[in-house]
């Protein structure tokens, strides 16, 4: 084991230690008045109740799938025997990260509001460091999982046989699928929960009853705040946990394949490089957290600058430090890989900047949507849809440029396909570069809902207007970081998807070999021309030959069928989640109306609404509505593989990734722009609060809610989960595909 590997567990321990430190620091703060503590307790209880329910469901799914994988691996011998365990730990670690992050967030909201009574900087500090608990827990647990499995597998198989290293890294990839299943429930279920509550609360509260947002008389308010925690904290955490481990492991697997014939030392270095860069990024993210501070009279711009200092500071440090680390490691094509890494880092920043431009009220697109309110809600919607669709251009251009450059650098400054594996490793390295700042990027993301909840807490507790002004400033900042965070999550999902597609073919090879090795006398379907293929023949195929062998060429009808189906699934998955939010919000509206009707004391302020019942409705709806999208996402690659084999599956993944990236970016940006167009009007433009323009803007915002927080982020999960699953079932697919 190269010495540099040990940086990975060390970084993991440092990150988890720092997270614990920040958690202790936050817990020392007071929760403020009794009302504040009581409200926070309500939210916390609701969040825990939801998470308990979700873990029950997801636990059942994880255990069932593990049992199926056990049967496939041990009874039919069609699968790598480590898969069931890797799968299970991935799911568990991802769940743990979400749980810790969400617990922290629910403890932090009242404390942030209370610190904001002292000063703006104190509020920022509590909220951001609580967010950092989440960010560092995700990367810390990710690196821990990677360290343990890599240690165990390399000790079991040894690292001298180049082929075994490929098997080790590809096996590790399968724990990504556990994380993907977990994140499906966390992100999509959480998204349905939060938007059902949010939309329901807005429709009755703001529009019908005319009471402000976060008014304690609204029975759905607590559910709305709970939603921020389960959707935007726990869901986002699980989503990015999966991207993080997925990218590092896919790059390791690509490195193992690319340098398989370069000798054990060089190959092993290529394998651990993504892990080491991840570890380095984690350590520097911890340093970056300390850069985030601001003066008392800070403007919105200065607040944004404070967060930017943390993230960009970490990015610059990673860019510089990785030169020394990569040199010291003595990597092959070190400068090429470093440039690929840099391309990834810059792509991430470009996507974030584009998201900010298209969703922030400081720029033309959002202001145009705000101006469209003058001709009513229809033009607001048309404008938002139009701007959202246009906004896709820059992120896609950034990502394809990043892919092109990373390939060029990674393959030693060439665009030829004779260095395909090296180029793909370069793309993997770019994805690692993009996600290397995750520790701190995720801190700014998780900061958003904490500040949002702090504002809610301040409003409901009737704190001083000056405090409310401060929490509003912190919250508004959170909206912008949420948009850039979403762009980042989508962009990294696209790169992860591509890296996983390449790893898929490696896993196909291993799957076939596994069956051939067993000598089961199993006859492969004739259409794969594999009946007579021996293990070493298979081993000698490179990626290009694999694709030709499997006819994964663009005009193969199986590939075309896969692509059209993949693109369609992105739309259908989004449609299902949009409709789910609509349905659940309708139930919430009915419940709130019922409470207002049957409990007249609520509006008079003499009676507490039944918050728990609203939480229960969202919880139940989220679980029920998760059924269909889960089945769809889990079944699609299996069914496609069974019918159309490898070309069908790769077409499916490519179609879903290409269409899903644009669709999800469109929905995230349109939603963000509508949200901020409303805020822009509330700042006093076009007639301000209460005007007809404001009403039109509220409608846009409500439409945008499920767009940006349920359907949009849900697509990341769909793309990654299908790719992960394809890898896990690769062996089976090849063995029994029909045509």
């Amino acid at each position: 084991m190269p010495a540099w590997f040990w940086l990975v567990p060390v970084a993991s321990v440092v990150a988890l230690g720092a997270a614990y430190g920040f958690f202790r620091e936050m817990m020392k703060e007071s929760e403020g008045t009794e009302t504040m503590a009581r409200i926070a307790a309500h939210v916390r209880a609701g969040a825990i109740a939801y998470l308990k329910q979700q873990y029950k469901v997801v636990g059942t799914v994880l255990v069932s799938l593990t049992l199926i994988f056990c049967v496939v691996a041990y009874v039919f011998h069609m699968q790598n025997p480590w898969v069931p365990f890797a799968f299970l730990t991935g799911g568990m670690f991802s769940g743990l990260a979400g749980f810790i992050g969400m617990r922290t967030a629910t403890y932090a909201s009242a404390r942030t509001a209370n610190a904001a009574r002292r000063s703006l900087n104190a509020g920022l500090r509590v909220a951001f460091r609580s967010g950092a608990v989440m960010g560092l827990t995700v990367v810390g647990l990710g690196l821990l999982d990677i360290s343990i499995w890599f240690f165990v597998l390399t000790h079991f198989y040894g690292t001298n046989d180049a082929h075994q290293v490929v098997v080790i890294t590809t096996t590790m990839l399968t724990f990504g699928m556990g994380a993907a299943v977990q994140s499906l429930f966390a992100r999509v279920g959480g998204g349905i929960f939060t938007k059902a509550a949010d939309v329901g609360a807005d429709l009755v509260g703001k529009i019908e009853a005319g009471i402000p947002e976060d008014d304690p008389r609204n029975p759905a308010t607590i559910a709305d705040n709970v939603g921020d925690n389960v959707g935007d904290v726990a869901g986002m955490g699980a989503d990015l946990y999966e991207s993080y481990v997925g990218v590092i492991l896919a790059s390791a697997a690509l490195g193992a394949a690319a340098y398989a014939s370069s000798g054990a030392t060089i190959q092993l270095k290529a394998v651990i490089a993504p892990m080491v860069i991840g570890a380095l990024g984690t350590l520097l993210s911890v340093v970056g957290v300390f850069f985030v501070r601001t003066g008392e009279k800070a403007t919105q711009k200065q607040l944004l600058g404070a967060l930017g200092r943390g993230v960009n500071g970490a990015a610059v440090m990673i860019a510089v430090a990785s030169i020394f680390v990569m040199r010291a490691m003595g990597l092959e094509n070190m400068w090429g890989l470093w440039l690929a890494l840099l391309a990834g880092l810059l792509t991430g920043i470009a996507i974030g900047q584009a998201a900010e431009y298209f969703t922030s009220q400081g720029y033309a697109p959002t202001q145009r949507i705000a101006a469209a309110t003058k001709t009513g809600p229809a033009t607001v919607i048309i404008g938002g849809l139009g701007e959202g669709m246009m906004s896709v251009a820059i992120p896609v251009m950034a990502v394809v440029t990043g892919i092109g450059l990373a390939y060029f650098f990674g393959s030693g400054f060439s665009f030829g396909t004779d260095t395909l594996s090296l180029g793909l490793y370069g793309i993997g390295m770019a994805a690692v570069g993009m996600l290397s700042t995750l520790g701190i990027t995720l801190a700014t993301d998780a900061y958003g809902p904490i500040a949002d909840n702090a504002g809610g807490n301040a409003e409901m507790s009737g704190l001083d207007p000056e405090v409310r002004r401060r929490t509003d400033a912190l919250d508004s900042l959170g909206n912008t970081t949420a948009a850039t965070g979403k762009g980042f999550a989508i962009g990294s999902a696209a790169l992860t998807g591509i890296a996983l597609m390449a790893s898929y073919l490696e896993e196909v090879k291993i799957g076939i070999q596994h069956i051939l090795d067993r000598g089961l006398g199993y006859t492969f379907p004739d259409h794969f021309h594999l009946a007579s293929t021996a293990t070493d023949q298979l081993q000698s195929l490179n990626l290009m030959q694999m694709m030709t062998h499997y006819e994964v060429v663009l005009i193969n009808p199986k590939v075309i069928i896969g692509m059209f189906t993949g693109a369609m699934l992105a739309f259908v998955f989004s449609g299902i989640t949009m409709k789910a939010v609509g349905r659940a919000a309708g139930q919430m509206v009915d419940e709130v109306r019922r409470q207002f009707r049957e409990m007249p004391g609520i509006m008079a302020g003499t009676q507490d609404p039944d918050y728990a019942r609203c939480v229960a409705i969202s919880t139940k709806a989220a679980q029920r509505e998760m059924m269909l999208p889960s089945i769809l996402a889990i079944a699609a690659p299996v069914v496609m593989g069974f019918i159309f084999g490898v070309p069908g599956v790769l077409g499916l993944l490519a179609g879903a990734a290409a269409a899903g990236f644009s669709l999800s970016m469109f929905m995230a940006n349109a939603g963000g722009a509508w949200d901020n167009a409303k805020k822009y009007i509330e700042e006093g433009h076009h007639g301000g609060k209460g005007s007809e323009s404001h009403k039109a803007a509220v409608i846009g915002d409500t439409v945008g809610d499920p767009f940006k927080d349920t359907a949009g982020p849900g697509l990341n999960i769909l793309v990654k989960l299908m790719a992960m699953e394809a890898i896990v079932v690769a062996g089976v697919t090849v063995a029994i595909s029909l045509v």
Copy 2:
């Protein structure tokens, strides 16, 4: 020349003759009262004014591109010398078809209204037969263009050399690009025109001034009616003209390639088979027109049944008659090709049925959207977006099933890729099957705007309520046929796109050969390993080998970059057109408000509004807003080809087709459902006209307008134009691509 070929010019003459007959018949009807004739004259003048302006712009573009193609072909010898002329005739014939159809429609509206004074059946008959003029002109001119060019080229080159036949058919394909450019302006420009007028008229008229639709006091009313003619008649006609000739020629080219080594007789039969089937379908479409009649007290269902009898009758006749024709022609694999044809016919019907289910108020999805009006416009929009996204599932499943079956049947009942060319020919045959009923399908499409205008004319002329009830019934029927027609246009565009992708590789071969033959001493870029490729080496490559040679495998980063870019372009193109409608509608609103303000006599009914000015605004806006999407669509395949060569271009086409199909289906169905949800409420559900529910539904309808009539259909054009253009510039692309 095989005798069967002569069926093609015969069918063309019959179709054009029948169209002329129906036109004369319609012109014999009276235009009714003086007011009716005056209003019709207003609309006609506006439509002609717009078309004149459009043809000026499109003429400039066509001539400029022709000149460029001349330079490329005659100075640089990088292109087939027939291309400039083929390109030009395609553009001219497509423009002519749109012009004739639109002229007819503007003559027919008052006559339909007047005939409806007599009886419902008379109204249906005039409107439908006028629509048939359009349908039969499109297929008649298409077959004429094909006949002439095929006759000229086969006499020039002869048909004994299999390779020359491939060159002939691929050359003919290039006139599809002329048609594509024409349809870009007709469909997208017309779409912007019509929806700017429609949305503008609705926003001020219905929502602000509270006057009904088609009220003569609304200055934008005439522009709205003009828009129906230029967008839904001329635009739809140009769109489907392109699909029709594109599909027949792509199939002919695929047939030439698939049977290149089977001898001249068999090859030539395969080439003319798609033309003969097209001719057969045209003749039977003429017969089908006579099936459309109804009783006086006809319900909506019976009216729909009357149209269905025409379309389905033609389809059944084609299915049966083609057995005999294909047998008599003595085609190779006759039963397989017939089954492929049948698969295409059925796919078209399935798509139409699905569109009807998802957009008609008789079914659950639209009723759910109508029910969502109870919680306001936001839930209407969320519901419509959700239902629209879900609605993508069935059409995509239908198309991929159709592709799979057609491939299986076409390649002689196999799924292997050793028969790739045969299978692709089968897919082409399926596309021909789907479009074989175009003569009559397009008649039902063009019928819609004619009935719509008749209703407008009746309203503005203050005809008897009973007459208005009859034109309303005819109009409402038109909404359903419009939705199925759109589904049909989108589905056929997808199949056309796939067929063109395969033809692209043939054209690449020819392009290279052309340059090699010239012996210019031109050195190909090294990355294509072509520097030493001789003509016969190239000739011997089949499609699979071409794809391997050009590395058009799915994980080639060039392909991935192309795919992501293609999917992105679908979104950006839609965004641009959505925003264009928003902007132009805003101008229209300002103008209508100005007229109401400055000319108080309008609302009092003592003064005529300035209709012409509104027409001028829409005309100008449509031309101006066309700039950006045109440049994008024309530049994209060229730029992608120059940078990333053949793999980049094929990735681009595949990404655009896969994402574009779903996106366009989503927008068409969501828009149709919103439109009919409004109609459902107007029929008296959820509070009926004037209720809060109705207001919410009007907002949904307004959002749906540019969705279903501008952005949605615009994507068909984008997908087909980019594919056509890729074929035209294939030689140049290969010669000078960079990496």
